[in-house]
Protein backbone atom coordinates (compact mmCIF):
# COMPACT_ATOMS: atom_id res chain seq x y z
CA UNK A 1 0.00 0.00 0.00
CA UNK A 2 1.57 3.27 -1.10
CA UNK A 3 1.73 6.24 1.24
CA UNK A 4 -0.58 9.16 0.52
CA UNK A 5 -0.61 12.81 1.57
CA UNK A 6 -3.94 14.48 0.89
CA UNK A 7 -5.60 17.77 1.73
CA UNK A 8 -7.83 16.32 4.41
CA UNK A 9 -6.13 13.09 5.41
CA UNK A 10 -3.04 11.04 4.82
CA UNK A 11 -1.96 7.47 5.27
CA UNK A 12 1.23 5.52 5.51
CA UNK A 13 2.21 1.93 6.09
CA UNK A 14 5.06 0.94 8.33
CA UNK A 15 5.90 -2.44 9.88
CA UNK A 16 2.60 -4.00 8.67
CA UNK A 17 0.50 -1.24 10.25
CA UNK A 18 -1.41 1.34 8.20
CA UNK A 19 -1.98 4.69 9.88
CA UNK A 20 -4.78 6.89 8.56
CA UNK A 21 -4.45 10.44 9.90
CA UNK A 22 -7.31 12.94 9.64
CA UNK A 23 -6.23 16.58 9.38
CA UNK A 24 -9.09 18.59 7.93
CA UNK A 25 -9.42 21.80 9.94
CA UNK A 26 -11.24 22.97 11.90
CA UNK A 27 -12.73 19.72 13.24
CA UNK A 28 -12.40 17.00 10.56
CA UNK A 29 -15.92 17.65 9.31
CA UNK A 30 -16.85 15.00 6.78
CA UNK A 31 -17.98 16.68 3.59
CA UNK A 32 -17.21 16.09 -0.06
CA UNK A 33 -13.46 16.73 0.28
CA UNK A 34 -12.99 14.23 3.11
CA UNK A 35 -15.33 11.75 1.46
CA UNK A 36 -13.35 11.85 -1.79
CA UNK A 37 -10.10 11.07 0.01
CA UNK A 38 -11.76 8.44 2.19
CA UNK A 39 -12.94 6.75 -1.00
CA UNK A 40 -9.38 6.74 -2.28
CA UNK A 41 -8.28 5.22 1.02
CA UNK A 42 -10.99 2.55 0.90
CA UNK A 43 -9.91 1.62 -2.61
CA UNK A 44 -6.28 1.33 -1.52
CA UNK A 45 -7.26 -0.65 1.57
CA UNK A 46 -9.36 -3.07 -0.45
CA UNK A 47 -6.43 -3.79 -2.75
CA UNK A 48 -3.76 -3.86 -0.02
CA UNK A 49 -1.55 -6.92 0.02
CA UNK A 50 -1.53 -9.57 2.74
CA UNK A 51 1.39 -7.90 4.43
CA UNK A 52 -0.92 -5.48 6.27
CA UNK A 53 -2.05 -6.62 9.73
CA UNK A 54 -3.57 -3.56 11.37
CA UNK A 55 -5.03 -0.15 10.66
CA UNK A 56 -5.07 2.79 13.06
CA UNK A 57 -7.36 5.75 12.37
CA UNK A 58 -6.66 8.93 14.32
CA UNK A 59 -6.87 12.70 14.17
CA UNK A 60 -3.96 15.11 14.09
CA UNK A 61 -6.17 18.00 15.19
CA UNK A 62 -6.23 19.18 18.80
CA UNK A 63 -10.00 19.56 19.00
CA UNK A 64 -10.69 15.89 18.58
CA UNK A 65 -11.30 12.98 16.28
CA UNK A 66 -14.11 14.46 14.18
CA UNK A 67 -17.15 16.69 14.60
CA UNK A 68 -19.05 14.56 12.08
CA UNK A 69 -20.78 15.45 8.84
CA UNK A 70 -20.06 18.86 7.34
CA UNK A 71 -23.48 20.37 7.98
CA UNK A 72 -22.52 23.76 6.62
CA UNK A 73 -21.58 22.21 3.28
CA UNK A 74 -24.73 20.12 3.36
CA UNK A 75 -26.85 23.23 3.85
CA UNK A 76 -24.94 25.21 1.22
CA UNK A 77 -25.31 22.49 -1.38
CA UNK A 78 -29.02 22.18 -0.69
CA UNK A 79 -29.78 25.79 -1.51
CA UNK A 80 -31.86 26.35 -4.62
CA UNK A 81 -32.64 22.66 -5.05
CA UNK A 82 -36.07 21.09 -5.08
CA UNK A 83 -36.97 18.70 -2.27
CA UNK A 84 -36.48 15.77 -4.64
CA UNK A 85 -33.06 17.02 -5.73
CA UNK A 86 -31.98 17.63 -2.12
CA UNK A 87 -32.95 14.14 -1.07
CA UNK A 88 -31.26 12.60 -4.10
CA UNK A 89 -28.04 14.47 -3.32
CA UNK A 90 -28.09 13.35 0.30
CA UNK A 91 -28.84 9.75 -0.66
CA UNK A 92 -25.90 9.74 -3.07
CA UNK A 93 -23.58 11.07 -0.35
CA UNK A 94 -24.84 8.49 2.15
CA UNK A 95 -24.42 5.62 -0.28
CA UNK A 96 -20.84 6.72 -0.92
CA UNK A 97 -19.90 7.07 2.75
CA UNK A 98 -21.58 3.75 3.54
CA UNK A 99 -19.43 2.04 0.90
CA UNK A 100 -16.32 3.51 2.53
CA UNK A 101 -17.34 2.56 6.05
CA UNK A 102 -18.41 -0.93 5.00
CA UNK A 103 -14.97 -1.41 3.44
CA UNK A 104 -13.25 -0.34 6.64
CA UNK A 105 -15.69 -2.39 8.70
CA UNK A 106 -14.98 -5.57 6.72
CA UNK A 107 -11.28 -5.00 6.08
CA UNK A 108 -9.27 -8.19 6.59
CA UNK A 109 -6.99 -6.37 9.02
CA UNK A 110 -7.67 -5.44 12.62
CA UNK A 111 -8.77 -1.82 12.74
CA UNK A 112 -8.34 0.58 15.65
CA UNK A 113 -9.86 4.03 16.11
CA UNK A 114 -7.60 6.06 18.40
CA UNK A 115 -9.77 8.95 19.48
CA UNK A 116 -9.60 12.06 21.62
CA UNK A 117 -11.84 15.09 22.13
CA UNK A 118 -15.01 15.39 20.08
CA UNK A 119 -16.03 12.18 18.40
CA UNK A 120 -19.44 13.23 17.22
CA UNK A 121 -21.98 12.13 14.65
CA UNK A 122 -20.26 10.95 11.49
CA UNK A 123 -16.90 10.97 13.26
CA UNK A 124 -18.30 8.63 15.88
CA UNK A 125 -19.67 6.47 13.06
CA UNK A 126 -16.23 6.26 11.47
CA UNK A 127 -14.85 5.07 14.82
CA UNK A 128 -17.69 2.54 15.09
CA UNK A 129 -16.68 0.97 11.79
CA UNK A 130 -13.38 0.01 13.42
CA UNK A 131 -12.85 -3.17 15.42
CA UNK A 132 -11.46 -1.49 18.52
CA UNK A 133 -11.85 1.99 19.97
CA UNK A 134 -9.07 3.33 22.14
CA UNK A 135 -10.01 6.65 23.70
CA UNK A 136 -8.03 9.14 25.68
CA UNK A 137 -9.88 10.55 28.65
CA UNK A 138 -10.80 13.77 26.83
CA UNK A 139 -12.90 11.86 24.29
CA UNK A 140 -16.63 12.54 24.08
CA UNK A 141 -19.00 10.48 21.97
CA UNK A 142 -22.30 11.88 20.81
CA UNK A 143 -25.08 11.50 18.29
CA UNK A 144 -26.45 15.05 18.13
CA UNK A 145 -28.55 14.38 15.02
CA UNK A 146 -31.94 14.43 16.77
CA UNK A 147 -31.28 18.04 17.69
CA UNK A 148 -31.46 18.76 13.95
CA UNK A 149 -34.49 16.57 13.32
CA UNK A 150 -32.42 13.71 11.91
CA UNK A 151 -31.01 10.35 12.87
CA UNK A 152 -27.37 9.33 12.40
CA UNK A 153 -26.87 8.57 8.72
CA UNK A 154 -23.42 7.00 8.39
CA UNK A 155 -24.39 3.64 9.88
CA UNK A 156 -24.28 4.66 13.53
CA UNK A 157 -27.38 2.99 14.94
CA UNK A 158 -26.93 -0.43 13.29
CA UNK A 159 -23.27 -0.53 14.28
CA UNK A 160 -24.01 0.56 17.84
CA UNK A 161 -26.73 -2.10 18.02
CA UNK A 162 -24.14 -4.63 17.01
CA UNK A 163 -21.77 -3.54 19.75
CA UNK A 164 -23.64 -2.43 22.87
CA UNK A 165 -26.90 -2.75 24.75
CA UNK A 166 -30.07 -1.17 23.48
CA UNK A 167 -30.70 0.86 26.66
CA UNK A 168 -27.37 2.63 26.36
CA UNK A 169 -28.11 3.40 22.71
CA UNK A 170 -31.49 4.91 23.61
CA UNK A 171 -29.86 6.95 26.37
CA UNK A 172 -27.36 8.37 23.92
CA UNK A 173 -29.61 8.75 20.90
CA UNK A 174 -32.85 9.97 22.45
CA UNK A 175 -31.28 12.50 24.82
CA UNK A 176 -28.58 13.64 22.39
CA UNK A 177 -26.14 13.76 25.29
CA UNK A 178 -22.48 12.99 24.97
CA UNK A 179 -20.72 10.14 26.76
CA UNK A 180 -17.26 10.70 28.15
CA UNK A 181 -14.59 8.04 27.69
CA UNK A 182 -15.25 6.34 31.03
CA UNK A 183 -18.99 6.14 30.36
CA UNK A 184 -18.34 4.83 26.85
CA UNK A 185 -16.03 2.18 28.25
CA UNK A 186 -18.61 1.17 30.86
CA UNK A 187 -21.16 0.82 28.04
CA UNK A 188 -18.80 -1.53 26.21
CA UNK A 189 -18.09 0.87 23.39
CA UNK A 190 -14.49 1.68 24.22
CA UNK A 191 -11.90 -1.01 24.82
CA UNK A 192 -9.19 1.01 26.47
CA UNK A 193 -9.09 4.48 28.06
CA UNK A 194 -5.75 6.24 28.12
CA UNK A 195 -4.27 9.35 29.63
CA UNK A 196 -4.61 12.62 27.77
CA UNK A 197 -2.79 12.54 24.45
CA UNK A 198 -1.87 8.85 24.75
CA UNK A 199 -4.50 7.16 22.56
CA UNK A 200 -2.29 6.92 19.46
CA UNK A 201 0.67 5.55 21.42
CA UNK A 202 -1.54 2.91 23.03
CA UNK A 203 -3.06 2.09 19.63
CA UNK A 204 0.43 1.55 18.22
CA UNK A 205 1.32 -0.79 21.09
CA UNK A 206 -1.93 -2.65 20.47
CA UNK A 207 -1.16 -2.88 16.76
CA UNK A 208 2.25 -4.36 17.58
CA UNK A 209 0.50 -7.08 19.58
CA UNK A 210 -1.96 -7.68 16.72
CA UNK A 211 0.95 -8.11 14.31
CA UNK A 212 2.10 -11.17 16.28
CA UNK A 213 -0.95 -13.13 15.13
CA UNK A 214 -1.42 -14.89 11.83
CA UNK A 215 -3.28 -12.42 9.61
CA UNK A 216 -5.50 -15.05 8.05
CA UNK A 217 -6.61 -16.34 11.45
CA UNK A 218 -7.34 -12.83 12.70
CA UNK A 219 -9.34 -12.08 9.55
CA UNK A 220 -11.36 -15.30 9.94
CA UNK A 221 -12.10 -14.49 13.59
CA UNK A 222 -13.20 -11.00 12.65
CA UNK A 223 -15.45 -12.16 9.83
CA UNK A 224 -17.09 -14.63 12.21
CA UNK A 225 -17.70 -12.20 15.07
CA UNK A 226 -18.41 -8.95 13.22
CA UNK A 227 -21.09 -9.31 10.55
CA UNK A 228 -22.07 -6.11 8.75
CA UNK A 229 -25.76 -5.30 9.33
CA UNK A 230 -26.44 -4.56 5.67
CA UNK A 231 -30.23 -4.61 5.85
CA UNK A 232 -30.38 -2.19 8.79
CA UNK A 233 -27.80 0.05 7.14
CA UNK A 234 -29.98 0.29 4.01
CA UNK A 235 -33.03 1.02 6.18
CA UNK A 236 -31.12 3.73 8.00
CA UNK A 237 -30.43 5.53 4.71
CA UNK A 238 -34.12 5.37 3.82
CA UNK A 239 -35.21 6.78 7.19
CA UNK A 240 -32.58 9.51 7.02
CA UNK A 241 -33.76 10.57 3.55
CA UNK A 242 -37.41 10.54 4.63
CA UNK A 243 -36.57 12.82 7.58
CA UNK A 244 -34.26 15.04 5.55
CA UNK A 245 -37.09 16.27 3.33
CA UNK A 246 -39.02 17.72 6.29
CA UNK A 247 -39.04 21.49 6.98
CA UNK A 248 -37.80 20.99 10.55
CA UNK A 249 -34.47 19.79 9.20
CA UNK A 250 -34.11 22.83 6.95
CA UNK A 251 -34.81 25.03 9.96
CA UNK A 252 -32.34 23.12 12.13
CA UNK A 253 -29.61 23.36 9.51
CA UNK A 254 -30.30 27.05 8.95
CA UNK A 255 -29.86 27.78 12.66
CA UNK A 256 -26.69 25.74 12.65
CA UNK A 257 -25.06 27.56 9.75
CA UNK A 258 -26.09 30.98 11.03
CA UNK A 259 -24.19 30.39 14.27
CA UNK A 260 -20.51 31.19 14.48
CA UNK A 261 -20.06 28.61 17.23
CA UNK A 262 -18.28 25.37 16.33
CA UNK A 263 -21.04 23.23 17.82
CA UNK A 264 -24.08 25.48 18.08
CA UNK A 265 -26.33 22.68 19.23
CA UNK A 266 -24.35 22.32 22.45
CA UNK A 267 -24.96 24.36 25.59
Amino acid sequence: MNNFQGKTLSWKMEARVIELALHHAPHNEIGSAVLGELEAFAEALASADNNCAALIVYSELASGFSAGADLRELHRRSQGLSATEKTAGVRDFLLRIHRVLNTIDAAPVTTIAAVHGITFGGGFELALACDLIIADKTARFCFPELRLGLIPGFGGIPRLKRDIGNAAIRDMLLTGRSFNAAKAQAAGLVGQVTGEGQALAVARTTATQICKFDSGTAAAAKEFIKPIPHEELRREIDIFCELFSRPTVEEGLRKFVESADAMPYLP
Binding site: T138, G176, M263, P267
Partner: protein
Protein backbone atom coordinates in the same frame (compact mmCIF):
# COMPACT_ATOMS: atom_id res chain seq x y z
CA UNK B 1 -19.38 15.69 50.94
CA UNK B 2 -17.89 19.03 49.88
CA UNK B 3 -20.00 22.18 50.07
CA UNK B 4 -21.12 24.08 46.99
CA UNK B 5 -18.50 26.69 47.82
CA UNK B 6 -15.76 24.07 47.92
CA UNK B 7 -16.94 22.64 44.60
CA UNK B 8 -16.97 26.16 43.15
CA UNK B 9 -13.37 26.66 44.24
CA UNK B 10 -12.34 23.35 42.67
CA UNK B 11 -14.11 24.20 39.41
CA UNK B 12 -12.32 27.53 39.30
CA UNK B 13 -8.99 25.78 39.82
CA UNK B 14 -9.80 23.30 37.04
CA UNK B 15 -10.72 26.12 34.68
CA UNK B 16 -7.57 28.05 35.56
CA UNK B 17 -5.46 24.98 34.81
CA UNK B 18 -7.36 23.96 31.68
CA UNK B 19 -7.48 27.37 30.04
CA UNK B 20 -4.10 28.47 31.41
CA UNK B 21 -5.30 31.73 32.94
CA UNK B 22 -3.61 33.39 35.94
CA UNK B 23 -4.49 32.00 39.36
CA UNK B 24 -7.16 34.25 40.83
CA UNK B 25 -8.10 35.47 37.38
CA UNK B 26 -11.54 33.91 37.59
CA UNK B 27 -14.37 34.42 40.08
CA UNK B 28 -17.56 32.43 40.80
CA UNK B 29 -19.94 34.78 39.04
CA UNK B 30 -17.89 35.22 35.89
CA UNK B 31 -19.59 34.35 32.62
CA UNK B 32 -17.04 31.78 31.52
CA UNK B 33 -17.92 32.08 27.84
CA UNK B 34 -17.23 35.82 27.88
CA UNK B 35 -14.43 35.87 30.42
CA UNK B 36 -12.46 33.07 28.78
CA UNK B 37 -13.60 33.77 25.22
CA UNK B 38 -14.47 30.12 24.71
CA UNK B 39 -17.03 28.40 22.52
CA UNK B 40 -19.24 25.40 23.25
CA UNK B 41 -16.54 23.00 22.12
CA UNK B 42 -14.06 24.34 24.63
CA UNK B 43 -16.75 24.30 27.30
CA UNK B 44 -17.27 20.64 26.50
CA UNK B 45 -13.56 19.99 27.04
CA UNK B 46 -13.90 21.59 30.47
CA UNK B 47 -16.92 19.37 31.14
CA UNK B 48 -14.79 16.27 30.46
CA UNK B 49 -12.18 17.53 32.88
CA UNK B 50 -14.88 18.19 35.49
CA UNK B 51 -16.43 14.76 35.07
CA UNK B 52 -13.06 13.06 35.37
CA UNK B 53 -12.12 15.14 38.41
CA UNK B 54 -15.34 14.67 40.37
CA UNK B 55 -16.06 11.15 39.05
CA UNK B 56 -19.55 12.15 37.99
CA UNK B 57 -21.66 12.25 34.86
CA UNK B 58 -23.05 15.65 34.00
CA UNK B 59 -25.24 15.42 30.89
CA UNK B 60 -24.46 18.32 28.62
CA UNK B 61 -28.11 19.31 28.38
CA UNK B 62 -27.98 20.16 32.09
CA UNK B 63 -25.55 22.91 31.18
CA UNK B 64 -27.87 24.63 28.74
CA UNK B 65 -28.10 28.24 29.82
CA UNK B 66 -25.39 27.83 32.46
CA UNK B 67 -22.74 30.47 31.95
CA UNK B 68 -21.24 31.16 35.40
CA UNK B 69 -19.04 29.02 37.61
CA UNK B 70 -21.30 29.25 40.65
CA UNK B 71 -24.30 27.75 38.83
CA UNK B 72 -22.06 25.16 37.21
CA UNK B 73 -20.77 24.17 40.65
CA UNK B 74 -24.32 23.79 41.94
CA UNK B 75 -25.12 21.39 39.08
CA UNK B 76 -21.99 19.40 39.88
CA UNK B 77 -22.81 19.38 43.60
CA UNK B 78 -26.22 17.88 42.86
CA UNK B 79 -24.47 14.91 41.24
CA UNK B 80 -22.03 14.17 44.07
Amino acid sequence: MPSVQEVTDEVLQLAVAHFKVPLGGLSPDDDFFKKLGIDSLQALALLSRIENHFHIELPDYELQGVTDFRTLAARIHARL
